[in-house]
Symmetry: C3
Subunit: 458 residues, 3 copies
């Protein structure tokens, strides 16, 4: 089933090895342990061991790491014949992106004497940036070669770091859980890429672009890990103490409320009142996206629940009504529906963050104001101005994502990456050695055939 054009024998090894050699050279030149991972530096000043940032953030890091590799990877195994590619390409591009992100984020977020300093917080940030690439992967799933995906990751990580730098460092935006920087950016970047890569004859692979019973169960593994660990995701890089604690709690309640509205809307809008696995697998997560910005703020538990409740409704309606419209009219073929899980809920999260920031007062936050809104606490800014900055940040993010996605889409359109033909999309066999379906299944079918043929011939 593989012809010369899609053969990866040289394309993939050359791409991987060139990229990794570049990474190794740049890491060798630029990257150092930070003062909490370096033996000499840490012991140079007086600390208690439990003050090392490792103990504040490593459990959250591991939860985020599971979301990136198991969560995103298995969420995309819902396709019947694309499980190897979903999990396997997710693995490949994430392993590349986290290394590249270390460099790009380190470069923009401040060098120390010409060196990038790394530790658990930079590892979390690298995983976050990787998450954004995997969201875009969801939009183009099934229609791209691994080489295309690596090239996309390289450009997207770079643009992610630029956007993150503009927001967090120049504008002073707050976005700890990444409603804007991660979700909105990843979704609209990916949607633009898939728009540029539009395939008018994709319906020739239509029979593979759906799930089977077991593939939906595998996908639920991804869904549940994303759902369970989202409180860790949103709180992973917030300030120590009450901030991490509050962010996790807000996310927990937002997701719970979102799950109920998702089930409600799925039964309400689906055929015969039956629940649709696509909604459960995706829309129930929108509550985590939607408190990505405001989760660290004093959103209150009930505020989190209202946001989550709305996110679930928006997301299911998106799957039901908006996605078909986007595919037919806007020529946006969004395989995983990332617009419904990350795009719209990301925008909702940005708006909720802007409003919550605008309402912040010293009376509500006390001395904790300095953790959440340092510029407001120091008097350099005001709450309403912070709210305005948050809103502007959404516009900036959308602009960079859409423009960047368009440019990268055209780069990926070059016919040199071994992309699959329209007739063999959503098919592992093109890039993977695929074993038989089920043990003895084909053997049995052959046996039936042979047996009957023998009878016929006798």
């Amino acid at each position: 089933m593989t012809d010369a054009a899609t053969n990866m024998r040289l394309k993939l090894p050359v791409t991987c090895i060139i990229l990794e050699v570049i990474l190794i050279i740049l890491f060798g030149t630029l990257v150092q342990y930070d003062h909490e991972t370096d033996a000499r530096e840490w012991h140079n000043s007086s600390h208690q061991d439990y003050e090392n940032d490792f103990y504040f953030r490593y459990p959250s890091f591991q939860d985020v790491h599971v979301m990136i590799f198991i969560g995103f990877g298995f969420l995309m195994t819902f396709l019947q014949r694309y499980g190897f590619s979903s999990v396997g390409f997710n693995f490949l591009i994430a392993a590349f992106a986290l290394q590249w992100a270390t460099l790009m984020q380190g470069f923009f977020h401040g060098m120390h004497g010409g060196k990038i300093h790394i530790g658990v917080e930079s590892m979390i940030n690298a995983d976050f940036c990787t998450g954004s690439v995997l969201i875009s992967f969801g939009a183009v799933l099934g229609k791209t070669s691994p080489v295309q995906l690596l090239i996309m990751a390289m450009f997207e990580v770079t643009l992610f770091a630029v956007n993150e730098y503009i927001l967090l460092s120049i504008l002073g935006t707050r976005d700890a859980g990444g409603s804007m920087t991660i979700h909105t950016f990843g979704a609209y970047f990916g949607l633009m890429v898939t728009r540029v890569l539009y395939r008018p004859n994709l319906d020739r692979s239509k029979h593979r672009n759906s799930s089977v019973y077991h593939s939906d169960l595998f996908a639920m593994i991804g869904t549940l890990y994303l759902w369970m660990f989202w409180p860790s995701f949103n709180s992973a890089v917030t300030a120590h103490g009450d901030d991490q604690h509050r962010t996790a709690l807000n996310t927990y309640y937002s997701l719970a409320a979102c799950t109920l509205s998702t089930y409600a809307m799925s039964a309400l809008t689906s055929h015969d009142g039956k629940l649709d696995m696509v909604h459960i697998q995706n829309a129930a997560l929108a509550g985590g996206v939607a408190v990505g910005t405001a989760g660290e703020m004093m959103l209150t538990p009930v505020g989190s629940m209202i946001v989550g409740f709305l996110a679930g409704i928006i997301s299911v309606l998106g799957f039901k009504f908006l996605s078909p419209f986007m595919e037919e009219k806007l020529k946006i073929q969004d395989t995983c529906g990332v617009h419904n899980l990350h795009g719209m809920p990301g925008i909702l999260g940005a708006i909720v963050g802007a409003v919550t920031a605008a309402l912040a007062t010293k009376d509500i936050y006390g001395d904790g104001l300095a953790d959440v809104f340092p510029a407001v606490a120091s008097g350099d800014s005001s709450a309403s101005k912070q709210g305005g900055i948050q809103a502007i940040s959404l516009a900036v993010t959308l602009g960079i994502a859409l423009l960047g996605g368009a440019i990268v889409g055209f780069i990926l359109k070059l016919p040199i990456y071994g992309a699959p033909p329209d007739t063999i999309c959503f098919e592992d066999n093109i890039y993977w050695e695929v074993p038989g379906e089920e043990e003895g299944h084909e053997a049995q079918l052959t046996a039936v055939r042979t047996e009957e043929s023998e009878k016929l011939n006798s």
Copy 2:
């Protein structure tokens, strides 16, 4: 396959939305951040960041969270045609129950100026209460509609909070890992519900009430996560320091010993000496249940191992001999065998707890006595009296569970919730859009048929 009676188009959305709106109103009225999640409160007093309860309990919370959603959810996917419902309804009722539990437990465990204060410890307790509901779900699995399950969850959470309040707050019982409050309560409540909902013609769905090869592997994911994280479960709300440490260690050894006795008993009692997946998936966990009460006490490692060893034996014997008896003679159709995994081991755990408490001395516990038995340490009670209280607590729990389960069972018997008919139990198709079985499988069978027919016709 769906007729009007089981159609969820309106029933499920209405139930979900009414429940969530009630939750939002009550959270808005009653619930506040506690002093460790509130920005103002935390910064109002002098703390080091590492003293925030988040760092003592959040890793345990996340392990418990995985047990609730992946552990319970996948454990129940062993049924061949009920994987979507097992994981999906588990997800739905857990997301509801943890919100409702926050209110009920907060209400009973002490309001602060008319407000319920929440943080990581209340989140763990909400997940614990949810676990109890999911145990009951195991008893009625395959025979109930999602609306029935939500109603059951609402009542069960409420009664759980009442029982927990009587035990922990009025009687002063110790039950950190919930042998009584979670396991015994959840199991006997569920058994009573399934008794009231007895279906004499359930054997019409018998062919679906069994596993297939892959569904048993999915179930092992659930089993192993429950097994691995049970040390976190039992230690999640014990006192900081040696108490959490000791509880995790005791549970670790109890489970290891339980696993060996489970394999031994399974081979001994099964057909042809072959191991039975039902035993491995369930009985190997009984060791965690059985040290739920005594795990925080000075049970000693060897004590934990003996308890686990016995729990595995009891549990396998229950699956082999007691469950068929209960189904035939007592009309208790216990789909997952929760009596063997949670019921009997829960009672064993309560008894072990009572005995261990009665044997507590200042000599053994030193100043640590105040952490485990505050009433004994303060002189308000004696060890033997504490042992008596523990025993009484078991009786109270059984009474409330059985009585409550009976009443709720009758409420759930009303023919308004869209329960499945006897002929279509254990079947996803009734509440879910279900895709084809295996990729190309039916197509291939059709191809064989067509091919042969053509030959015949030619």
Copy 3:
């Protein structure tokens, strides 16, 4: 399919119960809580709760625990008809080995007044030792009875503890992540056992010794959990503070680089340039093995990446060229290819560790030298001497593993354990009650047959 020889009705229960009773007796005689798990001891001296080792190591312990039970267990489910045994025997022998390891390691690592003291660090070490047994299990997978595996575990744990004692306590070797003690030892021990148990007619079971589509997806769950949590594995018992932090970071980057070289080499060497799941599932993990010794040292991020990059290349080449050679010429039937994942990368890790140790200076490590190389810091040794000790340790490990594996292989060759015949290897059915393959699948095939037959007969 079970005849008398492989029947486990008595063999398995008797083995399990004797072993567990011995464990209980020895635990009762020898094992005590350490000063951080004992209520009296902990409260006897003045500590803050957050200084309890539980909070430094328990999250890492839980990650290691997941690697042992889910990671190793599911990694081996790639075989089409051996999923129950892979996960189930992994579960059984791990539950036994961790108890036995507590005793053996406690005995060798220093008794306290005739007692073995246990806590979270001993739990991690017991899990580590168990990991070594599971590596050997991978070499003999599909060809051994559960009784054989328990006996192997008993001997291997004992020899592991002896080797570990010689290295860590007598020679003063550093090997926190176990490149030598865990991976090299487990791999060469297992390879020697499988050599002694050589089956010339194993090709009679050849049709079962391969994967199917879904079994490869289950195996990816194992792979990814091992990959994600390896940073926790390597850092679990290193010194508090910068050491744990640095080790996790080094492992993270080594694995990322290894993943890229694995994909490159897989496409380069496989049929038609297609990726091979065997490589992805295994070789991508070699980067974790290869920094098992040097991970805690000042290997630098770029050093870690280079090591990981090489490990991936070596491992894929081993699967492609060395494994077939070893099977044909050396009669070593290595089911999971543990030589490629643990053997060669373990040796690489030992060499990297020796070189990195030899290059250690006070200038690089500062006062942190005492954490990583206490003998060098105290002046009792020099860096180059430490490097020599590391190299000698590799030779010692190989010697004990190969000699021990040979002896234990001959013990396991006795025809009393119920090993499967050559014709029924890699088959669950021999030791497990196995349900039907797929719901209705055989029924459907039967229906086709019947229908066609009827047509033929009419």
